[in-house]
């Protein structure tokens, strides 16, 4: 951390900095969190208890668009990192904001989706399928939102001149988290939205 400021590459046995290794481990741990939530949804996806289930009212075109927006944010994240690494802080800041905005559009889409599902009679407490759906996608939404907070924190730090090209690894580590959250969404979108329920 501060050694990373003082030395470009703090000597570590693996050659990977402490913070980056920690982020990788954290993401490994997160895989099991989402694994548990996805399994729960798969167990309950048809468990409508007589009412409607999420698969009845999925709006695949709409969710495809918001998924596309989220995936594009991974591209802008890479561009942000590339700019900061090159020392182009101006572009770096711009791409950070664009990434956060794309994430925000995705969250907005999720809020819209939840609201419209609720209007169609699928509440959080309606049946096991609805509880599992909202919990899984809600956990993912919270992860995206925390990612946005981190991106904006980086933006503010860059704006105040505290984030410098030599700190590019911080942007990289936030990027790791951001890409991870995107990849989880690819799984969720495929497994939950695209695979039809019998």
């Amino acid at each position: 951390m501060s050694t990373a400021v003082l030395h470009d590459h703090p000597p570590t046995n693996t050659g990977i900095s402490h913070t980056k290794l920690a982020m990788w481990l954290f993401l490994g741990s997160e895989c099991l969190l989402f694994g548990g939530l996805i399994s729960t949804y798969l167990l309950y996806k048809t468990q409508g208890n007589g009412g409607i289930i999420p698969a009845d009212i999925f709006d695949i075109p709409f969710t495809s668009i918001s998924s596309f927006v989220l995936l594009m944010s991974s591209l802008t994240m890479v561009l942000a990192l590339s700019s900061v690494t090159r020392g182009d802080m101006h572009r770096g800041k711009a791409w950070l904001v664009v990434t956060a905005l794309l994430g925000g559009v995705f969250i907005g889409g999720q809020v819209y989706e939840f609201t419209s599902f609720y209007r169609e009679g699928l509440g959080y407490t309606t049946n096991p399928a609805s509880s599992a759906f909202y919990t899984l996608t809600g956990f993912h939404g919270v992860h995206v939102s925390l990612g946005i907070v981190m991106l904006m924190s980086l933006f503010v730090a860059a704006h105040q001149g505290k984030l410098k090209p030599e700190n590019a690894e911080t942007v990289e580590i936030v990027g790791l988290y951001w890409h991870f959250v995107d990849i989880v969404w690819i799984f969720i979108f495929t497994v939950i939205y695209l695979i039809p329920v019998e």
């Binding site: 050694t3 003082l6 920690a22 982020m23 694994g35 167990l43 919990t135």
Partner: protein, 667 residues
């Protein structure tokens, strides 16, 4: 949470934001007052605090155990009501697992991993402090349900649904259980990531992975198990909490929910948890036995690989906790076989310990007594465990006292007794005085006898058909005699624990008249014995360069042409003096404590009043950002580091740094 904000910390290192973040707390400067303990980031102090808090909860959980045994001493007793009995045995289990054994193992991990690999601290000293404070706040929150939650949780430590639902458990006890364990889980997750990074990244030059002491290896495997098991129970606890707080439908069978979901999630965590409890003790035994046999550990790589094998296989046996839940014959056969197979690496370890002792110059110190007893008691528990791998036998024994006997032999016999041995072994290193050996042996024998009197008869009771978790029993079933024996045994354990605490107090008083233990009182083998006792704040004056396994041993001894071990140096002479000056250490911080205070407020808020959540959330957010903006090393801190380049864990010799980087290949 704490990991997520970590990247933000890179804005640190800026002197401009160093002084008084938010103008609330000045940067603590280190010393010996109570403030310095609250703000410490020293892995050794954090280890000591873990140990002390764990012993406190050992007394709490032990008192609950004594209440259970008093209630069951005679048939048809009314000391505890059925409801209170449920709460007491639940909180006994939760306390002993999450608030005693795990933190006591964490104490050893925190204190010893950096010392055994030749590091000055862990990878993230402030996160380490956060782990302790968050764990403590979760532990106190969990136990506060006795005072403000209308009683403890009453669903068993496994908290099966739908018993854990609001219908069958209307008090707030289960809410406290879920939230308390979630908070404690954050602590363990942060700590596991921290210690894994420490082991992988911060080894001294020459300390390759396969030169690490077996204890460090077992603790490393434990941290991997924690990192991957905790998210699973986190999911389960969230689902339970949402069911109770927000009326979701995860565990309501009337709505079509599947009660087995909880059992699967719980035991996917719960079985690795068994190894999380037992592997640190295995590691401790693997340090004590070679030392007091004056032989290297037999089959080092076998020991390590069998530990790794246990770590992997531990994930494939969870459903043996569920043989009678109707999971189907194929699952039962598969998990039955997997359970028998996991006995193989465990058996390897037991044989290797015995082979280490074989032909050794044995010294039965208190630590060695505890270590050998661990091997023996764990073997008994392991054998009764194999009887459960046979599903038909398990069907007969499940939910009886036979199971209670089995897991206490594993967890108490294999886990706690080993940890006690570790206390005697490392006490001089941690506190600078020896625990009295004569009293220690009394402690050992009373504990061993008490333990066997308590849990041995439970095998018989279980086979006779006495159910677990019943608050009383009628006379005439033949349960009376062994229950009374068991109760007497439990009080003998209580006496032995009290005697242990007395031994600590008395030995400290006597220590002033005795010679100090010196750096290496046991003539031991690993690096922590090459520095003074107690370990100095900066651990190592200079970072040792490791040339072999048991490097410290080979600085004292060599093997001559006749294959005889001959002494070549006096440990006092070759040990480090602990007198280095100007070592730059990470600065203390209050923010981990502040962040840890925010979490239970959020938890109380979820139960009682959402406004508390807001306060707790703001407190946590302020702490996170202040933490991120506070440099790791206080630029104002006094130090006379001549080259001025700050916290460098390696000597300033480029060749050595290069060597240490090359060793990473093993990872």
């Amino acid at each position: 949470m704490a990991i997520i904000e970590e990247p933000l910390a890179l804005t640190s290192g800026e002197p401009a934001v160093a002084e008084r973040p938010l103008g609330v707390l000045t940067r603590p400067q280190g010393g010996n007052g109570w403030r310095d303990w609250l703000s410490t980031v020293d892995h050794k102090r954090i280890g000591i605090m873990y140990g002390a808090a764990a012993m406190f909860f050992f007394v709490v959980g032990g008192s609950e155990a004594l209440l259970i045994r008093l209630q069951l001493a005679f048939p048809e007793q009314g000391l505890l009501s059925g409801q209170l009995y449920n709460e007491i045995f639940t909180m006994h289990g939760v306390t002993m697992v999450f608030l005693f054994i795990m933190p006591l193992a964490a104490a050893f991990a925190n204190y010893l991993i950096p010392l055994q690999i030749g590091a000055r601290d862990v990878a993230f000293p402030r996160l380490n402090a956060l782990s302790f404070w968050v764990w403590l706040s979760g532990a106190l929150f969990l136990n506060s349900s006795w005072l403000v939650g209308g009683g403890g949780a009453d669903c068993g430590w496994f908290c099966y649904s739908p018993n854990s639902g609001i219908v069958f458990s209307p008090s707030h006890g289960v809410d406290f259980y879920a939230l308390g364990l979630l908070i404690a889980g954050i602590a363990s997750l942060v700590s596991s990531i921290n210690l894994i990074v420490t082991c992988l990244n911060m080894r001294a030059p020459g300390m390759t992975l396969f030169r690490m002491p077996v204890l460090t290896w077992m603790l490393l495997i434990t941290q991997f198990l924690l990192a991957f098991a905790l998210p699973v129970i986190t999911v389960a606890l969230f689902l339970l909490l949402f069911d109770r707080l927000f009326d979701s439908q995860f565990f309501d069978p009337a709505a079509g929910a599947d009660p087995l979901l909880w059992q699967h999630l719980f035991w996917i965590f719960g079985h690795p948890e068994v190894y999380i409890i037992i592997l640190p003790s295995f590691g401790i035994v693997s340090e004590i036995i070679p030392t007091f046999s004056r032989k290297p550990i037999f089959g080092y790589s076998f020991m390590v690989f069998s530990g790794i094998a246990i770590g992997f296989m531990g994930w494939g046996v969870w459903a043996h906790h569920m043989f009678v839940s109707g999971i189907g014959p194929i699952s039962v056969v598969a998990f039955s076989l997997a359970t028998m197979f996991i006995a193989v690496p465990t058996g390897v370890k037991i044989l290797n310990w015995l082979a280490t002792m074989w032909g050794g110059a044995l010294r039965f110190t208190t630590a060695m007594l505890f270590a050998t007893a661990t091997v023996a008691m764990f073997t008994i528990g392991g054998l009764s465990g194999v009887t459960h791998a046979l599903a038909p036998a398990d069907t007969q024994q499940t939910d009886t006292y036979y199971i209670v006997a089995h897991f206490h032999y594993v967890i108490f016999g294999g886990g706690v007794i080993g940890l006690m041995g570790g206390c005697y072994f490392w006490w001089p290193k941690v506190f600078g005085y020896m625990l009295d050996e004569r009293r220690g042996k009394w402690h050992f024998w009373t504990m061993l006898v008490g333990f066997n009197l308590t849990f041995g008869p439970m095998h018989v009771l279980g086979l006779q058909g006495m159910s677990r978790r019943i608050d009383t029993y009628s006379s005439g079933f033949g349960f009376e005699f062994w229950n009374l024996v068991s109760t007497i045994g439990s009080f003998i354990i209580a006496i032995s624990v009290a005697y242990f605490i007395y031994n600590i107090w008395k030995s400290k008083r006597e220590a002033v008249d005795r010679p100090p233990p010196g750096p290496d009182p046991w003539d031991a083998r690993s690096l922590e014995w090459s520095i003074p006792s107690p370990a100095p704040v900066h651990n190592f004056d200079y970072v040792p360069v490791i040339e072999s396994q048991d490097d410290w041993w080979f600085r004292k001894y060599t093997i001559n042409d006749d294959d005889k071990v001959v002494r070549i140096a006096d440990p006092e002479m070759v040990a480090q003096k602990g007198d280095a000056t100007g070592v730059h250490l990470p600065s203390p911080s209050f923010w981990p404590l502040v962040l840890a205070l925010g979490l239970p407020l959020v938890a109380y808020g979820l139960i009682f009043n959402l406004w508390l959540c807001v306060i707790g959330g703001i407190l946590a957010a302020v702490a996170i950002y202040s933490w991120a903006l506070e440099p790791v090393d206080d630029p104002d801190a006094h130090h006379d580091d001549s080259d001025g380049d700050g916290a460098d864990d390696l000597p300033n010799d480029p060749a050595l740094q290069e060597a240490s980087r090359d060793d990473g290949g093993g990872g």
